[in-house]
């Protein structure tokens, strides 16, 4: 089972990202999928999280994820605010929305780090809501690149299940761009890029 935590701020679309990943993973052939928001009231701007579990077998656990295999960070300012690495497995993958390269983010420890300028890509694609860039969908492209768990094609298929076709076009373009521009740095570069399924 792969456990994914999405960290963002209320309104950034962590819940939708978790859901799209769930749809994509199901299309990919995984039988066990759950996606859930942080339980409780919804608060725009406050730090929030959402989760996706992906497994070959139907999932029987609905408790909170303690240590994720993958953490996706929609807003890099959260890295210093909440203990994201504390909820990530050793050798886990962290994907950060930042124009910086993985080794410039300042993530210490035994983690794989991926970075992508999701905000920049969203602005290029004119994906904004109220002036804020939509970063959740580009990060799905980064997720596909960094983890290899689901294909970029299935991410796009999953996305089309969750939004109307006209809105899907720009989002799919952003996903592709993010996929191509994601930089991945394994914690031990000698192991190459094949240490994940």
């Amino acid at each position: 089972m792969q456990e994914v935590l999405w960290h963002g701020r209320g309104g950034q679309g962590v819940v939708l990202a978790a859901q799209i990943l769930g749809e994509a993973a199901y299309i990919q052939g995984f039988k066990g999928i759950t996606s859930a928001p942080t339980f409780g009231p919804e608060r725009r701007g406050a730090p929030v999280a959402a989760s996706t579990r992906i497994s070959d077998e139907p999932i029987r656990t609905f408790s909170q994820i303690e240590a994720a295999d993958v953490a996706v960070v929609l807003d890099a300012t959260l890295l210093t605010m909440i203990d994201i690495l504390g909820r990530l497995k050793e050798r886990g993958m962290i994907i950060v929305n930042t124009p910086l390269a993985p080794d410039q983010i300042g993530i210490e420890g035994c983690f794989d780090v991926a970075s992508v300028d999701a905000s920049g890509i969203a602005r290029e694609q004119r994906l904004t809501v109220g002036g804020f860039p939509i970063v959740n969908t580009p990060l799905l492209g980064a997720f596909a690149k960094a983890t290899g768990l689901v294909s970029i094609t299935n991410i796009e298929r999953g996305l089309k299940k969750k939004m109307p076709a006209d809105r899907a076009i720009a989002n799919c373009a952003a996903i592709r761009t993010a996929f191509e521009n994601t930089i991945v740095k394994r914690h031990d570069s000698k192991t190459g890029t094949s240490d994940k399924k």
């Binding site: 749809e23 859930a36 999932i59 029987r60 656990t61 408790s63």
Partner: protein, 402 residues
Amino acid sequence: MSDVRIITGNEAASLGVKLCEPKVVAAYPITPQSALAETLSRYVEGGELKAEYVRVEGEHSALTVCISASTVGARVFTATSSNGLLYMHEQLHWAAGSRLPIVMCCVNRGVGAPWSIFNDQQDSISQRDTGWIQMYCRDNQEIIDSMIQAYRIAEEVYVPVMICYDGFVLSHTMMPVTIPDIESVRKFLPPYKPHTILSPEDPRTINSVLLPVRRANPEGVLCDGYMEMRYKLQAALDQSRDVIRKANELFAHTFGRNHGGMLWEYMTDDADLILTGMGSIAAEATVAADILRAEGVKAGVVGIRVFRPFPKDDVITAFGHAKAIVVFEKGISYGYEGALCSDLKAAFFGTDSKAPIHNYIAGLGGRDVKPRELVEAGKTTLAAVEAGRMNHEIKWLNCYTG
């Protein structure tokens, strides 16, 4: 081609209601049930569900509308949570006493005070003695499937059914759910045949005062008193066990999914240690059983699916050979212990089962319950038994006071 959608528990419940085609829906929104009430009102507004959606000012009225509509012959639905269910309390008795086959969802949430919007099962556990059938669901597939079974059961025994599922844990978590097709549902669930229809063409008085004694009506026929009517409600719940089992079997035959009749078992055949609970915590316990098995402990799980009527015979078979039993409960009968724990002890009384029962009160007000914590609880219990300590115990899991 089966229709699989990745949906929340509330969406599964809404789709289940739509498939059962009630004529009247009355519900008052309350977290975490709100999405269910909202989706149903959207179905009605959009013509997808040909029903009347009655907007009400509170839960007491929501159930009263359902009682009234059911009494004039309509299939009805309502849903609530927490203090909303408590506010319905009087009408819960009224619905059961009138023998109306109302189906409602209780999206389980802790009750105030103090306020909590998060999950536990104190709300429905507190309504145990109202004469309703109570079913607890372990995942979203079971929610939609139990809904369809619930109407069949309710309308056969004329007892209302409460479908309980954990708030947020299931209501807000998406997972793949196979949506049954409407034609098969219509075959499985025959049209509602009311036992009583109040109609101006044939005036009747319903639920007037019944006296302590039986009494002749104006036509000279000796009629039941209050006590006879109440006996019949108890008898109906007793008889409903078979109806529930048969509905589950027929459902499994028709749709290919068997959720267990009164209860379900997971690796219990050779289990020394049996973990048990109701709803999602029982699903969580199956993961704990897997972990325990990997460590060499013969663990299994019994999920209590129907809490009322209590599966008194089923539990003797299911738990009979266990050396130790751990009951996880998201509620308590204050001043004693978990309600399920008490019922299990009572069912085992006089049987060969001498297994100590350890009762863990867990997850109140949404406190997270993880499989590894259930594993630890199971090991503690087993260690006590192996050390020869055979007494029953009650503990609070992950509680930092006292």
